[in-house]
Symmetry: C2
Subunit: 453 residues, 2 copies
């Protein structure tokens, strides 16, 4: 019920503001839908540069592109903020499966998990032991796990309406899977991808190792292969051949890319709209998170195109290294603290370039209420849900300094079909959905730039 | 504001109902998300049968498939209702454009508009006269139009947030374009497709001829070709070569496909959930309207799977011939009247298999209020908008008999990128979005089957 009362209260608040603000939001919407450059920018980022894992040559190209795009958008100032990022390199990798007595190994699509260790070029021939949960793994005698490859066969729960709940439920096998298996003596792990797609695309994503365990190779397979492997394991003994050259190299110097319009009345009050510039090293990194980057640039462009001079400083931040280290998010927050900057609001768009449905918030209740008072202004753009928590990985370090956080909430249905997979391509982004997200962000940034928070 | 007050009122109404109904809707949601067959059914319809224009062999196959799918879903009774449908056949068609002095004709992608007349196999060589509106056409002297091909260069308005408004705004050039041009002596027309896509796909769709004018060939080109043609027309004289074998044949016997579960308490009160089985003869007819058909079948399947015995009769209706005649919709309404059937509610899903946002209604206010009282039950499924008008082309004849109408409102952003085009394929439908639509429909049909309207 909470949302209804909030909206009712909001409707009273709104009367004073609505008329002019409603016109401002309509101008923002018209300008972005008719003249917005975010979709063209995304094409350039995805198709001319491509995916861009931290430390890769493409990530360097993306930094240069981002700075130029912010200049083209009309930012008063554009600068790069240095960040040392982990440099993980995939290299060649393969997984072959042999089941039954045929002795024939069959290649299956595979992706090493991000930050995983490889096999040092060797081919590991391993017996598969299938588990469906950590509980099941813990019950096994160590001797039964030792030297084998643990297959975490945990399905993405399709019954959650919000797919982020399904992701939150399943991702522990990706993040903690290697630790838990290694502690029991396993030689490697393979997970059923954290994927809602009825297809065979493997989905990568970060894993990590505790200091207390031996790092073991960790890979992901798609849902179809996982179904086949499950059936084979139920029938009898299954072996795999695993090879992976992936490795961590020395940290590399990289950059956050920042552009701002200085506030005319309260320049010391800073509003951030951001996304992350790095992506996994498959697909185009289009929804994750090219979309958030080009939407943040669109905020700057739209203010300039409409000659909306913000009272407070508006910054677009393209963070580096969200995927496998969050070094950019930390560097930004550290710099803000060192420079004694006063951030009054930070929003991240990192949930895909899909049709927007809401703004999630993580801030004190009275600030949430102030933002909820604007809800009626957003309803014509399909943005109705101001009831959820929200923020973003890159702005979380700012949040720890007390900065009010928000996150764009796009429709989540398609996201985990393609998240961290080769299927996250430019072609899966709809021009209008992407722009509607940019409208929601720009509209909210505009209102906060006018009225503070 | 209206929506907020409605939702508030709704929240009070709801307390009495919510607990059990909320559980019922959750069961419906879980069942469809985990075990629903609509996505698999859509694959079969789209990939094994394909597009299915009224009177085509594929439409016959679709009728047989639909009847079997309804039997498989567990309908108590399945029957076919005869409908005579227009049979329009496309045949070969081509458009070539020559601009400047080069004398070279270049092939461009083209689709004849549905129900259009062809060129009798001849190649018409015609000069192009570009207009941007009917007003501009009317101002031209007849002599300037006579014997030429009128190019209606009207752009889909991207500034409307709801793309159906853009469609409603532009579609008159498709429906009335031939009449208006023929009245001034034009030999043919070509329209910029009624398409929001930044691509070159032509979009077909029905046109028609008044008795007072000579039927002239009418074709559509994609947005890219239209941009090129516009530029060429601005520069100088442009000619085209148009050939089209399309023609209207004799009406054919076809069928509406109907399956029902008989109500246990008020069997004479009938609730319809429907979509249309025919499609245009390009692409797969996936969003338009395979989606609505498989969602309607899902309603029947879900009631049976969950052993929800409806108090009122629940019918799934797969209408034939929505696209170029609405003969199925009329036949259904005529039959209902002849048999003195009492329909208390009819809902159509014919706006694409996208993530649902609302239920549109066309019925007396007190009935709308009753349905709005259920709004809080639908919010967890992303369905929040009960403020719009809604219905469907196939159920409009029922509406004229006083039956309360509704239509599923999916997110509209992607629809007119692919509507009536070769790009309306199964691959563009997301399994979860399609299922969420089926959940919304099944949930509402359930509530009305329990509480009447």
């Amino acid at each position: 019920m909470k949302i209804f009362y909030s909206l009712l209260i909001a409707s009273f608040f709104c009367n004073a503001l609505c008329a002019n603000d409603s016109i401002a939001l309509r101008r923002i919407s018209d300008n972005i839908l008719l003249h917005g450059t975010c979709y063209d920018n995304l094409r350039t980022l995805c198709k001319d540069i491509g995916h861009r894992l931290s430390g890769s040559p493409q990530s360097e190209a993306a930094v240069a592109w981002g700075a130029q795009a912010l200049r083209d958008a009309g930012a008063d100032t554009v600068w790069l903020q240095p960040v040392y990022v982990p440099k993980w390199v995939r290299g060649k990798e393969s997984l072959q499966v042999r089941s039954g007595k045929s002795g024939v190994y069959r290649d299956v699509p595979v992706l090493s998990l991000g930050n995983s260790t490889g096999t040092d070029g060797r081919v590991l021939e391993l017996q598969v032991i299938m588990v469906h949960s950590f509980e099941e793994l813990e019950k096994l005698p160590d001797a039964q796990v030792k030297g084998k490859i643990v297959f975490y066969n945990y399905r993405f729960r399709q019954d959650f309406v919000t797919t982020f709940h399904g992701y939150g439920d399943a991702v522990k096998y990706r993040s903690q899977g290697p630790n838990r298996a290694s502690a029991k003596g396993a030689a490697a792990i393979v997970i059923r991808s954290v994927s809602s797609a009825p297809d065979d695309k493997p989905h990568t994503g970060m894993t990590s190792y505790a200091d207390s365990v031996r790092p073991i190779p960790a890979v992901a397979i798609g849902n179809t292969t996982a179904n086949d492997l499950e059936a084979a394991c139920k029938k009898g003994t299954v072996h795999v051949r695993l090879q992976s050259e992936c490795r961590m190299e020395e940290p590399a110097l990289s950059w956050n890319v920042i552009g701002e319009i200085r506030g005319s009345v309260y320049p010391e009050e800073i509003i951030v709209a951001g996304g992350h510039l790095d992506s996994w090293d498959v697909g185009d990194g289009a929804h994750d998170d090219g979309a958030g980057c080009v939407q943040s640039i669109e905020v700057i462009r739209t203010f300039k195109a409409l000659k909306l001079q913000p009272k407070r400083t508006v910054r677009a931040v393209l963070f580096m290294n969200e995927e496998n280290g969050v070094k950019g998010g930390h560097a930004y927050a550290d710099s803000a603290k060192a420079r004694n900057e006063r951030h009054i609001f930070a929003l991240e768009s990192d949930a895909g370039g899909f049709t927007p449905r809401g703004i999630g918030m993580n801030m004190p209740e009275e600030k949430k209420q102030k933002i909820r008072s604007y809800a009626p202004l957003f309803l014509p753009y399909g943005v109705y849900d101001f009831s959820q928590n929200g923020g973003g990985v890159d702005i979380t370090p700012l949040g720890r300094q007390g900065v009010p956080l928000a996150g764009l909430i796009p429709d989540s249905q398609r996201y985990f079909d393609l998240h961290h997979a080769a299927s996250d391509t430019f072609e899966t982004v709809n021009h209008r959905e992407l722009k509607l997200g940019a409208i929601a962000i720009t509209g909210l940034v505009y209102l906060i730039s006018e009225y503070g928070l």
